[in-house]
Subunit: 370 residues, 2 copies
């Protein structure tokens, strides 16, 4: 089996757990955060830097790579790992999320989704089989079933029908999958309806995926509702399989996700806000490009051990950001990624040392002090 | 003396020479090429990368840093070396070149130049004393006298008057200089008039600078004329002092400059063309973003040992450039800088091994094969 999850430790009072995710490109401690390399590049940073920061798995987008440069080209290059010079883990999404985000540019049928490219307007038709074909060519360690990410709010009847179709698509994906060195994850949908989430979990478990993702959360619903759905859904998933919460990457949501038993996360948040000049710290966000930091010669976070905080001041980074220098957003990106990797490492240590709830309390207190 | 030049070897048949430039931040083999960090950052690359590539001295711009973030802020940060985390050599220009490039936005008098900021339109007055004051605050190892870079073509009478004023300004700069850990270079002007070049050299030598720059070349004149002026001017400079040809950085001009006895060069060329998707190689320029490289999985230059050519293909770099990914122009920048540093190292070795002319012949032949 391409993907195997090893449970190392369970928190006695919450769903939190520490584990190891075994993949064809390495074994990675969980819970883990995956930075997003939309177009075969985590924006502004290199593979070498990702390695140094401690990234284990990165996510890349099937939709984007299919349109440009094309999955066949990447296959000819020897696969995505080789194309982008990244020898650790890669997870590709199914393209569903991007295609469904196109709004009026797409049309859903039982067979799949017709859409127009955002790059050149060309027409395409994405099916479960096509999504697997593309991901087979890309060659990621973990590939995702083709699903509909249901918007919020949505009517019960729509969610029911969509979720059932997602399950049928998941079956088709399983059938289409060919490579033994790739693990295909199923994606739990069901919107904000607990019974539909339960049904989705049951249906997918019966298909026996090597891992399960929770999709359709962090799509605009109140945070408390997201946590409620998580707490309802995650415990129903098999303990022996990795669980992946899609599109979540703020520190508070990472803590709550881990608390309910999630092992893997991805999000563009840390890299996107970095490029807008915002740095993440344990005591909240620091907008480096604000005027108040013009003469501040301290690092972004004096307690941070990242290469940026060891060598560069807020004043310098602000100057670069204000002057439009690429190095500015690169430095904030590096810091934010390091911050999140370190955050996950600390959370894992806390789980292993039986003090996850204390870690969470301390974190919530510091966030409150902002 | 802050700056000392050690002559290691002279070419028996040309003006070419190998040496060592001793500065307060290290001793660097010459001939050398200085990448340009206009706004306290060599665009798209970090100080760590510059070190790895083998950069020894970088150039930064007084005009830009004076306007943003301000020289006083950089002084408070502990100087430019510390501000940008660069512990090797730095040379700052005088601001003259940028100010004179402003065209109608500036006005020259004997005292100095009035101009408006390109950033916010604010009024400023730059004098020789002010240029030194700013450079003193920035703290570079080598600082430059305030001069007028004469455009091409220009009338004899204008060039004569301007060059004489540049000499008077050079005297004022010497008087204004205070730091013993900075070396002030004089700048030879004289336009395309040999007798004015000769006069400028004589006047500046009498002021005894620790190094001399050739300014006012590569300003639009025919290349052959530039080489003619160089061959006329350089031999008149004292052999014991470093010679710096300003604003030149194409391989052919580097070879010809070295041939006439130049030790130092700077230019935005390699980094600027890199950001436009053009890579430099010994057999000429390679426009990586061209369609012909879409399926080309070879490195930019199969014979290049740079970190980019060791790990990334033309196809990948082209994909990044076409997709607007920052990493694309960063990789081309890294390659071009490595190429030029390596080019200078080879040229130096050729001088030391008494085969500079053979090196030059071989280079010209390869360029001709394009």
């Amino acid at each position: 089996m391409a993907i195997r999850f090893e449970l190392v430790k369970k928190c006695p009072s919450t769903g939190a757990r520490a584990g190891i995710l075994h993949t064809p490109h390495g074994s990675f401690p969980t819970p883990l955060f995956m930075p997003v390399g939309t177009q075969a590049s985590v924006k502004a940073v290199s593979s070498e830097e990702l390695r140094e920061l401690g990234a284990d798995i990165i996510l890349s987008n099937t939709y984007h790579l299919y349109l440009r440069p094309g999955h066949e080209l990447i296959a000819r290059a020897g696969g995505l790992h080789r194309f982008m010079n990244w020898e650790r883990g890669i997870l590709t999404d199914s393209g569903g999320y991007q295609v469904f985000s196109l709004g009026t540019l797409r049309k859903i049928t039982e067979d799949g989704v017709a859409f127009r490219s955002h790059v050149d307007g060309s027409k395409h038709f994405l099916t479960p089989e096509k999504a697997i074909e593309i991901q087979t060519a890309l060659g990621a360690d973990i590939i995702m079933a083709f699903d509909e990410c249901i918007p919020y709010p949505a009517e019960y009847e729509y969610v029911r029908a969509s979720t059932e179709r997602t399950t049928r698509w998941a079956q088709r994906c399983l059938k289409a999958k060919t490579r033994s060195d790739q693990g295909l994850f199923g994606i739990v949908q069901g919107g904000m309806y607990k019974e539909l989430r339960t049904q989705s979990v049951r249906d997918l478990i019966s298909l026996d995926f090597p891992g399960y993702a929770i999709g359709g959360l962090s799509v605009g619903e109140p945070t408390t509702l997201m946590y409620e759905i998580l707490d309802h859904t995650v415990p129903q998933l098999p303990e022996t399989k990795p669980r992946y919460l899609m599109g979540v990457g703020t520190p508070d949501a990472l803590v709550e996700g881990v608390k309910s038993g999630i092992d893997m996360f991805d999000c563009v948040f840390p890299t996107r806000v970095a490029r807008n000049g915002t740095a993440m710290t344990l005591s909240g966000r620091l907008v480096v490009k604000n005027a108040e930091y013009a003469n501040d010669f301290r690092p972004i976070d004096p307690n941070c051990g990242c290469p940026v905080c060891r060598n560069y001041s807020r004043a310098y980074i602000r100057h670069l950001l204000k002057s439009g220098e690429i190095l500015g957003l690169r430095l904030t990106t590096l810091h934010n990624l390091y911050f999140l990797f370190e955050f996950m490492r600390r959370m894992r240590r806390a789980i292993i040392e039986d003090r996850f709830l204390a870690f969470r309390d301390e974190f919530l207190q510091r966030q409150g002090e902002q």
